[in-house]
């Protein structure tokens, strides 16, 4: 789950990390009021869950409250990479002497969190990793001991931080690791962490990703979920606990199992088509879930054919077939469908679908080829 910048920074503050004074606004007049209260120059920052807000014109500096109101008016409602800006953060502008990067992620190979820092802040860390990997200093966090002060000292030395900043840097780094662990994050990033003119450190921008699997123990974080995260289809799929990712092809697919769902997409491509989505209905899905999945797929106007691929184990093929029939009663569609059912109760499922005039296939490759042919015939 992605958190907005302002949400991330508020959580950082709870862990003792200094952030700029600021508040969120949903109207230009609110932005003016906040700017007046803050006094001086402010930054108006669009709160949307995508990267590259600055380049898209979603972050602007205002010299006073008048200008803040004007800029907020321009940014609110703006479309950034398909997302509409509903909220802006109005922050007091920082006196920036240097920008550094500080982040925590999971190092899967090392099986522990890793703190990363770079003297090159303000740019994406992946960019630094590509162009100047030696600029990134890393230290692993022991899952039981946490981040120790000698580690942040070594990191501070590594990125050439002045001695007078070590103590403040340790406090922020330790706070960020605690925040990461305490929030079950998969990413907690301050970029940039700013060295101010008066030798202070300030987390000017923040980003957090929360491990979805941990939300059962973080009701406070779960409540922060932006229902509009991702596309309509993705949000709708979340509601039905379906694993769904939007793609831009023409063949919708519904599969049980994540690996098999990816493979189904791959085979569509191998057969000359393009998948419209990734969709895993999970193990043991019942007919209502299957119906919801099919409705979501068919809501995409680009979809020219649907491929159903079910390897029955715990999931029963007849249950899946029932769900498809249920959905077809609710949604009127002319989109051709190819079903490939194998395993538990496959015969029953297949005969149920044959009555509904669906194409059936035996092997997965065959199914993919049929779906691609159907889509191209239909277009």
């Amino acid at each position: 789950m992605k958190l907005h910048e302002y949400q991330s920074k508020r959580i950082f503050a709870q862990y003792g990390i200094p952030i700029p004074r600021g508040e969120i606004a949903t109207t230009p007049s609110e932005a003016r009021r906040i700017a007046e209260e803050l006094g001086g120059r402010v930054v108006i920052k669009s709160q949307v869950l995508v990267g590259g807000r600055g380049k898209a014109g979603g972050i602007k500096l205002a010299k006073d409250a008048d200008e803040a109101e004007g800029l907020a008016g321009r940014i609110l409602g703006m479309d950034i990479k398909g997302l509409k800006v509903e909220t802006v953060l109005v922050d007091a502008a920082a006196d920036i002497r240097q920008e550094i990067y500080l982040g925590v992620v999971i190092d899967r190979a090392a099986c522990r969190p890793v703190l990363m820092a770079s003297a090159e802040g303000g740019v994406e860390i992946e960019e630094v990793a590509r162009t100047n990997p030696s600029a990134i200093v890393k230290t692993h966090v022991d899952p039981f001991l946490g981040l120790r002060s000698y580690q942040t000292r070594d990191v501070a030395i590594g990125i050439g931080l002045a001695r007078c900043l070590w103590k403040a840097f340790h406090k922020i780094a330790a706070g960020l690791v605690e925040c990461f662990v305490g929030s079950d994050a998969s990413l907690a990033e301050i970029n940039p962490l700013v060295i101010t003119g008066d030798d202070g450190l300030l987390a000017v921008d923040g980003k957090m990703l929360i491990d979805d699997n941990s939300l059962f123990r973080h009701p406070d974080l779960a409540a922060l979920r932006d229902a509009s995260e991702g596309t309509w289809a993705e949000a709708e799929a979340r509601r039905f606990e379906l694993s769904y990712v939007d793609m831009d092809g023409e063949i919708g697919c519904m599969v049980n199992g994540a690996g098999l769902a990816m493979t189904t997409m791959d085979l569509i491509k191998l057969s000359g088509g393009a998948p419209a989505n990734f969709l895993d209905i999970g193990g043991g899905a019942k007919s209502d879930k299957v119906a919801a999945a099919l409705r979501i797929i068919l809501a995409d106007a680009r979809v020219k054919a649907v491929l159903l691929n079910i390897f029955g184990g715990i999931t029963r093929c007849d249950e899946v077939a029932a769900g498809i029939l249920e959905a077809l009663q609710q949604v009127e569609t002319n989109v051709p469908m190819v079903a490939r059912l194998v395993g538990t109760n496959a015969d029953e499922g297949r005969s149920m679908l044959a009555d509904a005039n669906l194409l059936t296939a035996t092997t997965l490759l065959e199914a993919a080829q049929m779906a691609v042919a159907a889509a191209h015939g239909a277009s």
């Binding site: 999971i106 899967r108 190979a109 099986c111 522990r112 969190p113 860390i125 992946e126 990793a129 590509r130 899952p143 039981f144 662990v181 079950d184 998969s186 491990d211 979805d212 699997n213 941990s214 059962f216 123990r217 694993s243 990712v245 793609m247 599969v255 049980n256 199992g257 994540a258 690996g259 098999l260 769902a261 990816m262 493979t263 997409m265 791959d266 085979l267 569509i268 491509k269 191998l270 393009a274 998948p275 990734f278 895993d280 193990g283 390897f311 184990g313 715990i314 194998v342 395993g343 538990t344 092997t363 997965l364 490759l365």
Partner: protein, 288 residues
């Protein structure tokens, strides 16, 4: 011969009175697995499909000599179930449970490394040694005994491969689903090492997917240590960057963990990589 589970497996089912636990206990018993005990705190003394239930794993081990456990408890309780099993002396723990938080798994891994115990999973279908023991949820009717070892990160995709092999009459020594989470107990390398040492395994099938670097590490291990032929398939060539594809671990991060890169590195290590699952059976048959 086989790896990890066989006729000597004496299984305790953790969470045996739950819906999943009870259902799969029946399937495992049917298959002939020696399911000697189950656990469910506060329900000791009961029985599920003829299997005696104990209040704790240590009680189960003490009374039945269980040496392997399989976990069907909810995600919030799964890490403790692993700790409990290992502390009770279980040397192989198989965790089917999906949705265990990553930071919990980091602690579990550190604990396992200290204790020298093995965990398969979580978020995995478990393992099966055809004709001997089935531990987890892999359907028993799509495998037959034979010379191919299978190790995979996914579930139903692996069933496809097992099924394709079985349809051609090519059987398996053991099939291991290591699970789709970013951090899990057993890696491809762990299984490759075991298959290489197993006299009955003549060749190995490895089924990977996008995300992480387990396949890349496996490739280096195969190049240096595996003499038996290895056939691989990597799911997710069409997956976009930065999106979790169902499995918590199936995500391309910072440009790393793409299928194309994994395939390139596996091929460079001498592994034959299939274009689609059914082709795996062709490649395996060709090198028999």
């Amino acid at each position: 011969m086989s790896i990890l589970v066989d006729k000597n497996t004496r299984l305790v089912v953790q969470g045996i009175t739950g819906r999943e636990g009870a259902f799969h206990t029946a399937r495992m018993v049917e298959y002939g697995t020696k399911v000697v005990a189950g656990t469910s705190p506060g329900k000791g003394g009961a029985a599920v499909h003829g299997v005696p239930v104990y209040d704790s794993v240590s009680q189960a081990v003490h009374h039945t000599g269980a040496n392997t456990s399989v976990i069907y408890v909810p995600a919030a309780g799964a890490p403790d179930a692993v700790y409990e099993a290992v502390s009770a002396g279980i040397h192989l723990v198989v965790c089917i449970t999906e949705g265990v938080p990553v930071l919990d798994m980091i602690k579990v891994r550190a604990f396992l490394d200290q204790k020298g115990a093995r965990l398969v999973g979580p978020n995995c279908p478990g393992l099966i040694t055809p004709g001997e023991a089935k531990v987890g949820i892999i359907p028993g009717d799509i495998v037959i005994p034979g010379p191919v070892g299978i190790v995979a990160r996914s579930g139903t995709l692996t069933y496809e491969v097992m099924y394709a092999l079985t349809m051609r009459g090519i059987g398996q020594t053991t099939c291991v689903g290591i699970g789709g989470d970013p951090i899990n107990g057993t890696s491809f390398i762990d299984c490759l090492r075991l298959f290489e040492a197993d006299a009955a395994t003549e060749q190995v099938v490895l089924i990977g997917e996008i995300g992480g670097s387990d396949e890349e590490q496996a490739a280096a291990y195969i190049r240096d240590h595996v003499k038996k032929p290895v056939t691989a398939f990597i799911a997710g060539e069409t997956a976009p960057a930065g999106k979790r594809m169902g499995h918590a671990g199936a995500i391309i991060e910072g440009g790393a963990g793409t299928a194309a890169e994994k395939i390139r590195i596996l091929r460079a290590a001498g592994v034959r990589v299939a274009q689609h699952p059914e082709q795996i059976a062709d490649l395996v048959a060709a090198s028999m």
